[in-house]
């Protein structure tokens, strides 16, 4: 069954095929030889279910004869074998023991011989029996099996320094341990040192700063004090100036006033005199005391006279009134009597 060989480089291959292995395709049972040859290798069958593939072990196989067709002798032989097998089977059947046929005139019948019907079953009579072994005895120890010595004795010994050198081997481990510890310690120490140096720097700066600050404040204070002092002094100076000016003004005013009032005095005297402010004391005394007394006396006297005249007037009036009354009465009686 050669197929179209794939063009292959046969030079590099280890061997060449006369017939290249290829997957076999499914064939129809009744194949059309004409159509088949033109068919492409479309379907591949499953090798496991291919009846052409030999299965099973191969070391006791019926190897097919070279010619595929069976000989007629073989066919005959096979048929005979088949026939013989059938006959054997039939014979075996017949040889099976059976109950003999009944004698003439008799018939086989099933009869119950016992009183009671017994059910035949497969149940087997059983009974329990126990058995117990004796208590365990300690098995004595097996004697040590020392096999007979065979072979040559060989010994070996590991001397010091042969497997490894401790000092050299321990070096890296130690290095790592100490290295790590020291590294950690250095880290912490450096931290502290860093902090300390930062603080020292800060302190130096602070000192400078404080010094400068105090200087600034002191100067400020000084400045303020000087300024205040200056202002104070200036104010004082101004006060003094003002006072001076005032006193100068006062002096000028006084001089002027004096001058103005220089001839005031005689005129004052004269007007006072005119107004009678200078007086003779006796005269004044007489005038102030004597005259009022005199006047009061005169008044008194005059009052007395006036009083007297008034009394007289009253008397006269009284009398006149009485006389009038009498005269009226007289008139009335006169009229009445008329």
């Amino acid at each position: 069954m050669t197929s179209i060989l794939q063009p292959q480089k046969e030079a590099t291959g280890t061997y060449t095929f006369s017939s290249r292995p290829r997957a076999l395709q499914n064939r129809n049972k009744y194949r059309d030889p004409v159509a088949e040859q033109n068919e492409e290798q479309a379907q591949y069958g499953n090798i496991m279910y291919d009846r052409r593939v030999v299965r099973g072990n191969t070391y006791a196989q019926n190897i097919l004869p070279i010619s595929a067709q069976t000989d007629p002798i073989e066919i005959q032989r096979m048929q005979e074998a088949r026939r013989r097998a059938v006959a054997r089977k039939r014979a075996k059947e017949q040889l099976r023991p059976r109950t003999p046929e009944p004698v003439e005139g008799r018939k086989h019948i099933d009869v119950q011989t016992e009183l009671y019907l017994e059910e035949l079953s497969d149940r087997i009579e059983e009974s329990d029996v126990q058995c117990q072994t004796d208590a365990f005895l300690d098995r004595p120890a097996t004697p040590l099996f020392i096999p007979a010595k065979t072979g040559k004795d060989v010994a070996t010994q590991i001397l010091e320094g042969e497997l490894f050198d401790f000092d050299i081997e321990v070096n890296p481990i130690l290095e790592v341990l100490t290295g790590k510890t020291i590294e950690q310690a250095l880290l912490e120490v450096m931290e502290e040192e860093e902090l300390a140096s930062l603080r020292a720097q800060q302190r130096a700066f602070e000192e400078l700063r404080n010094a400068e600050l105090v200087e600034v404040q002191r100067l400020e204070e000084q400045e303020r004090r000087h300024r205040e002092e200056k202002e104070h002094r200036m104010k004082q100076q101004r006060e003094v100036l003002r006072l001076e000016k005032e006193s100068a003004k006062k002096i000028a005013a006084r001089a002027f006033a004096q001058h103005y009032l220089a001839d005031l005095l005689p005129s004052v005297y004269s007007s006072l005199q005119d107004n009678g402010y200078f007086y003779d004391s006796v005269e004044r005394d007489v005038e102030t005391e004597f005259m009022p007394w005199l006047m009061t006396e005169v008044e008194k006297t005059l009052d007395k006279r006036v009083f007297g005249r008034t009394m007289l007037d009253m008397l006269i009036r009284e009398v006149v009134k009485q006389r009038l009354d009498i005269f009226e009465k007289m008139e009335q009686t006169k009229h009445a009597s008329k």
Partner: protein, 354 residues
């Protein structure tokens, strides 16, 4: 030789108090997860490992990038004291790195830390104060502390704390006062510091004197207020009122040079005002100061010279100091430039005539 075979067991846990650290990149994320574990022993062991790892700045950076700060903040409120102690220690170590401090400010760690002020366990408090002190050492941190309103609480705690913690608080206050002194003045810091001036430990005296100097210098860096002249004067007046100056003068004769330097510094800033000057002169500050001028240490000498300069503004001081001009002449040849300048200024002021 032994065969190279990778064992199927985990490596033996040598230190069972620490959680085993995963390899390489997984170390910090795994520890972060373990920190949030509800079981106590896991958290404790994770904290111990984290504490050791955080020394390395790279690991610290990674830890903060992964958000360990949030879990640590939550752990601050844990009931177990070991957890709190280790958490505060981790915070302290993180604060020693600059990235740590910046991250603290960004994630607002100061407030949760400050809630531990009243913590009963001493070590926790100490670690917490160390962390806060680290924070205050750089200007942004000091501003943050001031804004969180920690100064009055720190001053209050100063009276009642252990010595070591007092030192830490004084350090923190020193840096915060450089930023803003007015809050401290308002919370009676002067009287508290006055007590500390007579403490038996030299370091505490030194730091208290330094804090007083800052108070009376009263620089204001933060932009909350712009009233520049008022705060310095306030501080100095407060110092005069509380009669701190005589104590400072006695401290000038202290055996420890640091204390003397700080006392001279405080004096130099407090005597800028006139009542301060006369208070110092009445307390006979000149002789000790002149003694300090001869000291080899730069800052002692410098502060003393500055104090002398300030005191020389007053006429009585000038009279007295005219007799000691030669001392200052010697200082003209000092190594440090600042001291030389200060000596020249002092001489100029002393020989000034109105």
């Amino acid at each position: 030789m032994t065969a190279v075979r990778i064992s199927g067991n985990l490596p033996p846990n040598i230190d069972c108090t620490k959680a085993p650290i995963a390899f390489g990149r997984r170390a910090v994320p795994k520890l972060n997860e373990e920190l949030q574990n509800p079981e106590l022993i896991t958290r404790q062991r994770a904290l111990m490992s984290l504490c050791d790892l955080v020394h390395d700045p790279e690991i610290a950076l990674e830890a903060m990038r992964l958000g360990c700060l949030e879990s640590l903040k939550r752990l601050l409120r844990d009931v177990d004291s070991t957890v709190r102690m280790k958490t505060t220690e981790v915070f302290y170590r993180l604060a020693t790195h600059n990235v740590g401090r910046v991250a603290f400010l960004k994630s607002d760690v100061i407030l949760p830390l400050s809630q531990l002020f009243d913590e009963p366990v001493d070590v926790c408090r100490k670690n917490m104060h160390m962390a806060i002190e680290m924070m205050s050492e750089f200007p942004g941190g000091a501003v943050g502390l001031v804004e969180a309103g920690l100064i009055p609480r720190l001053v209050f705690k100063l009276t009642s704390e252990l010595e070591e913690i007092q030192e830490l608080i004084l350090d923190t206050l020193h840096f915060c006062l450089c930023v803003d002194a007015s809050e401290a003045l308002a919370s009676e810091a002067v009287s508290v510091l006055k007590e500390k001036l007579s403490h038996r430990s030299a370091r505490i005296r030194n730091k208290a004197a330094r804090a007083l100097m800052d108070l009376s210098l009263g620089v204001q860096v933060c932009n909350l207020k712009h009233t520049l002249p008022s705060v310095p004067l306030e501080g100095k007046n407060k110092l005069c009122e509380e009669e701190v100056i005589p104590i400072l003068v006695t401290l000038l004769g202290d055996p420890s040079p640091e204390v003397a330097a700080s006392a001279a510094g405080a004096l130099m800033s407090a005597t800028v005002t006139t009542p301060g000057k006369y208070a110092a002169l009445n307390a006979d500050a000149l002789l000790p100061l002149l003694g300090l001028v001869r000291s080899p240490q730069t800052n002692v000498c410098l502060n003393a010279v500055k104090a002398i300069t300030v005191l020389a503004e007053a006429p009585e001081g000038r009279k007295e100091l005219l007799k000691h001009l030669d001392l200052l002449e010697d200082l003209r040849g000092h190594d440090s430039e600042v001291t030389r300048r200060a000596a020249e200024t002092a001489m100029r002021v002393i020989t000034w005539k109105p």
